[in-house]
Amino acid sequence: MKHSLKRQPQQQKLTPRPLRRRWVKPARVLCKVSIFTGLLLVLLLGLSRLFTPLQPGEKWSIHPEQDFPIKAEPLDSIDAVMLGDSLGYGDFVPALLWHEYGYTTYVCSQSAQPLEEAWAQLQATLVNQSPQLVMLETDQFYRSTTLASDLSRALLFEAGQHLPVFRFHDQWKQLLGLKQTPSLKALQQTQLKGYRFSKLTQGYNGTDYMNDSGILKVQPVTTYYLSKIVKLCQERGISLLFISMPSPKNYSMKRHNGIAQLAQQYNIPYLDLNLDPQQCGIDWSKDTRDKGDHLNYLGAQKATLAIGSYLAEHYQLPDRRGSDFASSWDDAWSAYQQLCQDAANPDTGGDSSKIGVSEPLYLPDSPDLLLPTTATNN
């Protein structure tokens, strides 16, 4: 059967309505939409007040947990901060640098943290602390997939800055008593100055992952927040350092070149531990917890010592051992040591037999682990 698609009938030519009457209906629509939006905004502001983390002297919040654990540290007690994603909190051990050098470093990292979150972490840090150095773990530079996805994430982040309910909306779990505050994992991480301990071992059997070429450019939204971080650090006289933790899953020469280009542009030193991980002692069959994505505690020791050596060579961070707040750092070191012992000892709950830990745990005076830096300064 034949059908023909009906075309829209031509608009009848009517006498134009008076201008005032033509705008009455849209104006009423606009008015209703504005009132509805206004009401929504008021409600969101009220909820934001309720959901914002509790500040000293404040009562109206359901969020008693400090969103930024570094705020709990004594005033001006941190000399270097590591900002990053899981490669930051999983691969860098502040307690080890305290024990080795007396440096007070802190990891302000979240899982899958994009650079705008690092920016928020830095702002929160600078409220109570005056670090000399900010270390940016560079995996967070490549969090993005597309420009649109980056813009979406940044939009949500900025909304959360003005309406904190978007940022802290998950706190209803605590309000209803359905989540422990803070969680045991968070408590342990806070005690270890931001480091998250992992004893799992799943080796990486892949080939050399830094043999490609080319440049993978960093997306504009990331560079926007990086420029904000750089500006803030310049204003506060803080040195910046890019660090790439060893990770076959997350790094390539393309990425290295992209970061190196950025480092050159902003005149920031760049330490890439991927260029020769063997030199800092990484054994990919034992030192990774998830097939080359993150390091386990053994790999983290080696990476941290390599970074410590680089810091000692290039920066004048003070030795804070013996200071007023040294006891909390000694506690961190003791807790860390205990975890290492437990991980290596199957009788005390460690499952080293399963995870194949065969090498001795960290020995402070072991010369094998104090390796020269593999830094590449671009």
């Binding site: 059967m1 059908h3 698609l5 075309r7 929504l40 909820l47 979240q110 979150e117 949500l156 940022r167």
Partner: protein, 526 residues
């Protein structure tokens, strides 16, 4: 820029709406077309060339097919002899058919090239390895253009309909281009027919408050499904199906159930956002879901789930085979016995092979299609047997108990189907099914195992309440009550309280932001 992304909801959609409204009505289609292309470019600048190629190919093929018919009509009209007229018409139809086949080959070829080439190459290489280890074909990774499964099917439906002379070929290139690339539907469908939406898209629309309200309602409801239910279930689904070898018993069944719910909430939620977004522009897109979990059989389920795909396969695959000349002849000869089911079996086999392949290039998808083929064919063959049994026992097939049993049975079959569908491979799907049923222990409910799969107690409560609300609303709709008119009858304060309440639920209980990863729209990956 997914449909639930803040950039789409708070920047792109409002901006495109305002600009389109500011443009004179006769140029609104151009504004929509430009925004659609900007939307496409935001995903992949290069892949827009594929979309443009398909648009050009469809446009030209449509015109060629129609011109061949027109010429045939003209020549046939001039011929005096009836026999000659018949010959001219047959020849003309054959030429048009050839043009159609050529266009189908080109468009399907593009789909195969971008979506299935890697799958076919991998399987061919495995075959070659069996024969000779020295030969293997290079594996080309071309990437997949956004929405290719949707717009190619739309293009094919248009050409087949032009060939079937359902409507005339479009002469306005921009009109066809807009119909193929309209941004709210390009990523997830629904797969629209040309006569359903092309005219609406091209026509300008004035601002109507009712459009804004109903569009807004659909968007909010879709966001609730997507952000509160689907995205919250994602960690559990990922934990179960990314490590299938570690799962057994109840965990597998819970994982399959949760994936079914996630898929439904994700896809139907996205479609709600799509339909709502189009409605803001005054455009009514066809529905793609009709409360599928109230279905009493697998075939009814597919008439209610992804309706536009089911209808496409029915109209262009099933009917093409079952109403073909040969099948009709076969049908006339075999009225009795099992042979009479052969035309149905062949048509169903083609439909479900296409359905499986459409969802992805993998054996688990092909088996998923085969699974439904067996279910639907078996129910067709056994239908007379059921009738006899019920008649002899004097039971009513319309009793509530039987209906509830049918709904439960269909739901279970669907969950098993989704388990196959979500599994990383066919082998792992079989392993999961085997372990799910053979190692089933209710003790898993008590030992806290289900709380170690990425969802804590609070998450389970949110998901549970979300599903109660979702299926509560659907039960009301299923009973025949229309909620939208009821909502309109409420006083404004009540309506607004309801809308604001739902928005706040999404803001507070939604799985988004810094503690959650971005969950892409599931069907955008197909």
């Amino acid at each position: 820029m997914s449909y639930n992304a803040p950039l789409f909801l708070f920047v792109f959609l409002p901006l495109s709406w305002v600009v389109t409204r500011l443009v004179p009505r006769r140029w609104q289609w151009l504004s929509l077309l430009l925004f659609s292309w900007v939307y496409y470019l935001s995903f992949s600048p290069r892949m827009i060339l594929v979309l443009l190629f398909i648009i050009c190919c469809t446009y030209l093929s449509g015109l060629v097919i129609e011109s061949l018919f027109n010429r045939t009509d003209l020549l046939a009209g001039q011929a005096a002899d009836r026999q000659v007229r018949k010959v001219i018409k047959t020849r003309g139809k054959r030429q048009a058919k050839l043009a159609l086949i050529a266009a189908i080959v080109i468009i399907s070829g593009v789909l195969v090239l971008f979506k299935y080439l890697a799958f076919f190459t991998t399987n061919l290489n495995q075959l070659l390895r069996l024969v000779s280890s020295s030969h293997s074909l290079p594996l080309l990774k071309l990437g997949e253009p956004l929405g290719i499964s949707f717009f190619t099917l739309q293009a094919l439906s248009y050409l087949i309909d032009v060939f079937r002379r359902k409507y005339k070929a479009e002469r306005h290139w921009g009109r066809l281009a807009l119909w193929l690339s309209f941004f709210p539907q390009i990523m997830e469908g629904p797969i629209c027919r040309y006569d359903q939406t092309a005219a609406q898209l091209y026509a300008g629309h004035s601002i109507r408050f009712s459009d804004l309200v109903s569009g807004g309602q659909r968007i909010i409801w879709g966001l609730f499904k997507k952000v509160v239910i689907a995205d919250r279930l994602n960690p559990l689904v990922t934990a179960v199906f990314d490590h299938p070898q570690q799962q057994a018993g109840l965990t597998v069944l819970v994982g399959a159930f949760c994936y079914t719910m996630q898929l439904y909430a994700d896809f139907s939620g996205s479609i709600d956002i799509v339909i709502g977004s189009a409605r803001l522009f005054g455009i009514a897109l066809p529905e793609n879901f009709n409360r599928p979990f109230f279905s009493r059989s697998a075939s009814e389920f597919w008439r209610r789930w992804h309706i536009s795909l089911g209808a496409w396969l029915r109209d262009y695959i099933f009917y093409s085979i079952s109403f073909s000349h040969r099948m009709k002849q076969f049908d006339k000869k075999h009225r009795e016995g099992l042979w009479r089911f052969l035309p149905l079996a062949l048509a169903l086999a083609a439909v479900w092979l296409c359905n499986g392949l459409w969802h992805g290039a993998g054996w688990q998808y092909i088996f998923y299609g085969f699974y439904y083929f067996v279910l639907i064919l078996a129910s067709n063959i056994l239908e007379p047997v059921y009738k006899q049994i019920f008649a002899r026992l004097g039971w009513s097939r319309e009793s509530r108990g039987w209906q509830a049993f049918q709904i439960g049975r269909t739901f279970l079959l669907v969950v098993i189907g989704e388990l196959i569908f979500r599994s990383p491979s066919l082998g792992q799907a079989f392993g999961l099914i085997r372990r799910g049923f053979s190692q089933f222990r209710l003790t898993a409910l008590q030992d806290g195992r289900l709380l170690k799969l990425g969802l804590d107690k609070a998450d389970w409560i949110v998901v549970g309440l979300g599903l109660v609300l979702l299926f509560g609303v659907e039960s009301i709709q299923e009973s025949g009550l229309k909620l939208s008119p009821r909502l309109r009858q409420l006083p404004r304060a009540g309506r607004w309280a309801l809308y604001l309440g739902l928005i706040l639920v999404i803001v507070i209980a939604g799985a988004y932001g810094r503690n959650y990863g971005e969950v892409p729209l599931i069907y955008a990956g197909f």
